[in-house]
Symmetry: D2
Subunit: 396 residues, 4 copies
């Protein structure tokens, strides 16, 4: 009966019933007018979630990794120089992908637990007077460390150096959960997916692309077909797809957008903050530490938590699953064995989060962690109830 318990991995996220129903579409002809009439507004409305009016939405039946590959191969050429910080597993994956495609990757090593090194970027960009750097690649929310980076600061670094490099942002685990400002931050390509803030199954890479990035297509020398922006845009222009579209997910995205807009994006963000803050109160009550080094870096979608010295975080997540049938995120890369992660994004309630906290407490107690049962739960309860009661009063 494991389907009854929520998952606390940082995506794919728990699907709400409304979306589960919405994707139960019998096969329809994707060349028929009904599909065309549905698809175009979906693309248009998705922009709002990115915080963009000028960008173009491009989707692929793929995962976020496919979205990254699309971003890179459509805009860059072999040997192009790019600038990127390495501060977690997912930023490292960007780097690996670029290297495989023959790009010249300038890596700024950054301690895990910190965010994008905007100051260091500023120096490098200012020094690059020949404008050899074609793109700066960043990870908005590093899922491995639970760190949210300051993308606006990267934009300031670019503008301060008057540098024309494109700005690419991985927002797979932040979009539709934390504020994202594509236009205001001057982002050129933002890459997300269906399975996080959109609360859908895995299967759609969702990108927002600026006019500047679109212009770069013409000179981009990397090869691609499946991920070619031009084929996709040409087909999209008449409501179609260059190959068979993921019909069910597109209808699901329609409903997901409706849910997000009905709740209001600001309320969606506030809900994620509130859920995350409860988790942070619990971590504090346990006497444990987040991987994220300071509050301005705290992610509202995932918290990575160091286990005490002498304990193995993998044993903890493994035991939680085997004993209680609840999944938490494992520690990745440098954090393997040292930290576990609590995903708190998507369609989630305070009530559900409390069940996750209660579960991990039991698992920790089973493994003789020095924590008091109920302590983290109580800290989260206190925060959740006071913030809820305050909200009810202000609504009244």
């Amino acid at each position: 009966m494991t389907d009854q318990n929520p998952v606390f991995i940082p995506g794919p996220t728990n699907m709400p019933d409304r979306l589960r129903r919405a994707i139960q579409i019998q096969t329809r002809d994707h060349r028929a007018p009904d599909f065309v009439d549905t698809f175009a507004p979906v693309l248009e409305d998705t922009k709002k979630v990115f915080g963009s009016t000028e960008g173009k939405i491009i989707t692929f039946p793929a995962s976020g990794t496919g979205g990254w590959e699309a971003a890179v191969t459509n805009t860059l050429s072999p040997g192009d120089k790019i600038l990127v910080g390495r501060y977690g597993v997912f930023s490292n994956k960007w780097i690996d992908l670029c290297q495989r495609h023959g790009l010249d990757v300038q890596i700024v090593e950054t301690p895990w637990g910190e965010g994008v090194p905007a100051d260091k970027f500023a120096e490098i960009l200012a020094a690059d007077t020949a404008h050899e750097i074609k793109a700066v690649l960043t990870t908005h929310n590093e899922t491995a460390t639970g760190v949210r980076s300051d993308i606006a600061a990267v934009r300031r670094a670019l503008d301060g150096a008057d540098h024309p490099a494109m700005l690419f942002v991985d927002c797979v685990s932040s979009l539709a959960s934390m504020p994202f400002e594509f236009d205001a931050w001057g982002v050129d390509i933002a890459v997300s997916g269906s399975q996080k803030g959109f609360m859908l199954p895995t299967g759609m890479a969702i990108l927002c692309v600026s006019p500047k990035a679109l212009a770069a297509i013409e000179t981009a020398g990397l090869s691609r077909t499946f991920f070619d922006f031009r084929d996709m845009m040409k087909a999209n222009a008449t409501g179609g797809f260059p190959y068979t579209p993921p019909l069910q997910l597109i209808y699901g995205l329609r409903e997901s957008l409706d849910m997000l807009f009905e709740e209001g994006l600001e309320n969606v963000y506030a809900r994620h903050f509130r859920l995350a803050e409860g988790v942070r109160r619990a971590v504090d009550a346990w006497g444990m530490k987040l991987v994220a080094k300071s509050p301005d870096l705290y992610s509202d979608t995932v918290s990575a938590v160091y286990v005490p010295e002498g304990f193995d975080s993998n044993a903890l997540t493994d035991h939680a699953y085997r004993a209680y049938k609840v999944s938490f995120g494992v520690g990745l890369g440098q954090l393997d064995g040292k930290a576990f992660r609590i995903g708190h994004l998507g369609s989630l309630t305070d009530v559900m989060v409390l069940s996750g906290l209660a579960t991990i407490e039991m698992a920790m107690a089973d493994l003789n962690y020095p924590i008091t049962l109920g302590s983290g739960v109580a800290a989260a309860q206190e925060y959740y109830r006071t913030s809820r009661v305050a909200a009810l009063k202000s609504a009244a």
Copy 2:
């Protein structure tokens, strides 16, 4: 997003995904061989859950109340004398139904929080040497008070008096959750429904009927058509139904039986005990009292909990729903305003129960109850984790 949180009402119960899928049957012809081949084994297998080999399963597209009416109208005649104890809302509903159908109801008033008055029944039955009492009506699990009665004791009372009265048992909120022994207890009609231990939507009354009760049909003078056992048995004999059957629920019952048998009925009962015991530990930690007066009466499917003097249980359940979108059972009848109920039956896990306990704690704190946040949760956690670890060890 209320569908994300479990309900803690004592039924209908949270449906597992497997059953939700199983009932998604497109319309099929109920006169076709496929249905016939499915239905007969369902009836046969349902007997096992009642603990019967000699009984006959009879179902109606109705609620449990309809099942009661079927039991009474198929076996009794206007003016017939019946014996019944009143110790809660649901036992009282039996009484009301019998009175409306013109039966002569001898009521044994019993304090709420106690179970079936078997000793008093023994006296009355012994005194009834003329055997005017035609049936004894009992409620196995009184959902209003969280009391499980000792049906075997009623059988002993009947046998001790060598009395031929039929024994009817309402097991709507106990079957498939707590042990039930139709044959061993000498039950003549047991009435249950689809929406509790069977984890299905409301819509099917499910009865088990003894040969003695079936024999009573011929002389039963009360009128009925929809609920007539004879029409149903005649149609069932060839795999059919006397009118349109609730096809989806019948396929769902097939899957529900499969789930129960795969888990093992003994394990199902043990799971319900474990979940219930955690709730009771929490209640104790809160310094509160169950309505059920002694441990032998504790129900494993629902706990009715007195709120402290000066508090209104309706305000509590109402606030829990409005603030946290979690439903608990309200206090019924005499307990209106004085007790709330936690349903812990059906497809439920320890993890889910902990979310319910955490939620009601928040609601109590919001309303200034003298409880400590996390106290009940911690007591339940301790019980759940030690019993789980013990189970894992014994399985290893």
Copy 3:
């Protein structure tokens, strides 16, 4: 893969995806405000389908048979005289039910294939100057014969005799498919169900009750509990149910009403006529005869078709199911072996009907019926296409 083919039984009907999704509701608390807010408008909107503003909608978790029993037991007393015509299996079931409940049933035997004997009723009612007849019972659409009766004519018979008897109508297989005028026809109780024109699973009896019928409750002497109008109305008044409601079906009825209103009731009726007319053209092309004796009696929801002399209609429907996995209605009662039935109601298209006609043609050819393959299909095609093209032109 039988779920792929439509059924052509006269209900339960093929469920559209939209309704299949709508009923996939996880368990919710039926005492919570969300349910209350949903249920009341459902009751109100259902009136429109009955063509009533003055009636009261009462629903039970039961089949249509349960609805009949509710109608009779809430308004009549043992020994009351009722007037009814017998012209098919379902009108006969009314009669049987009334007799079992001790009513004095005056039966007007009517040839099958004809409708309600309004003229004969007029005579009888005029002769009943003592007003001993308390109710006239009619079947709007006799599902066994494919005959639609003229209910307005019965009203005229009552009014012509200035007779105060109540008028009860079984509209199980006509409502939401053919025009029904509760108020205009002066109906006192109309009984329908969820599984026909409402396109939902079986499980809800749906009644519309006039103020006059409601007033009769107070003096009605027949016993009932589950089906008691008073309990239901009392609970409904505050958005509740006297026992556990069929939650999923109520949410499904909400969506069904939305679908009916979006299409427009007039268009729903026109669609049923069109589909039925195509079937009738096919029957004519086969050189076969409908059971319904004249066009004014033709039902738009089901056609009963006589097989030629020397053929067994049961062998035909049985073979169609075994060879092609398509269900048609069998001949019932007097028509057993003599006629088969094609159900053409609910969520159905001309395209689907053509597959049914093609299938029964194959089955007939397999059994050496004197028909030409494709002949009925072609006749239906010609009608469907010309009426479709005409509709498209008038819409343009």
Copy 4:
């Protein structure tokens, strides 16, 4: 109510209810043991459908086009020479993809309606004594023309020339519908997808890869990350995925395989032949011609049908959709306006096909095609019924 009618496009195909339910999986942790235990056998069992014991199954969350790109980029280097025949839109897409990736594509132009030019290939391969040709690319079933090619003949051409080039086959629209013999035909990479014979939604590219093709990875110089076989195989080896897997489709593929094996692959192929043959009889009865030039080339999954001179096939498919809400395949490429296509693959029955034939006949009649209503239907009926009756007799 368009969801009620089947689609007759050549994929995505009509999904059976069983698969629609199977993919309704709530989010699960793809790193948990349950997923691992499910995934490995799915990969193993999928081999059977390809007719392989030596190949390795590799899947990607992508469409068939993505599968092609994976095949090419994992095994070839820029400038590599490949041999391919152009005989339809989909074979042309292979060519375009290879050219975009900088391959040296030798194209054998072949009239549409014919299949793979094996004889011409034999000549070219024999002449290529330097073995410059690294791969031969073929399309097993050309979806645009309804032509099935003889892949074994291509193997004979390779073997006859003793040529080491790899053999790649696009079997997107043939696998799990027509016989495929990966091992016997010496295929090196076969590319399929979830949305055709597997009857699932679009979203999974499914490849079978020979040891020879796997060995080619090490020297393949084309860039790829998302589609890298090595990452996928490394992760698959421990039951995992290199990124988030399409969980729902993997569970769906499990059920799809179960369905295929329960029916028996031979029976699946026979069913497709039978359905296709009925369509061909209808086309013949209409006096129209298939695009496929001879019976040995006839596809059992899709029939492309020339419309008569002076008629526009796009007007026909467009009208069929607008008037009857039924989708057929449009004419693609050279066949734009000249032919329409009837998809008859996946979860389909003779009864459903008849509805498609009846519909297109109406549409043709509406547009004044010189055909007789019912003529094609009758021809198909005759074939379907005689073949069905024969099958029933042989089963008896």
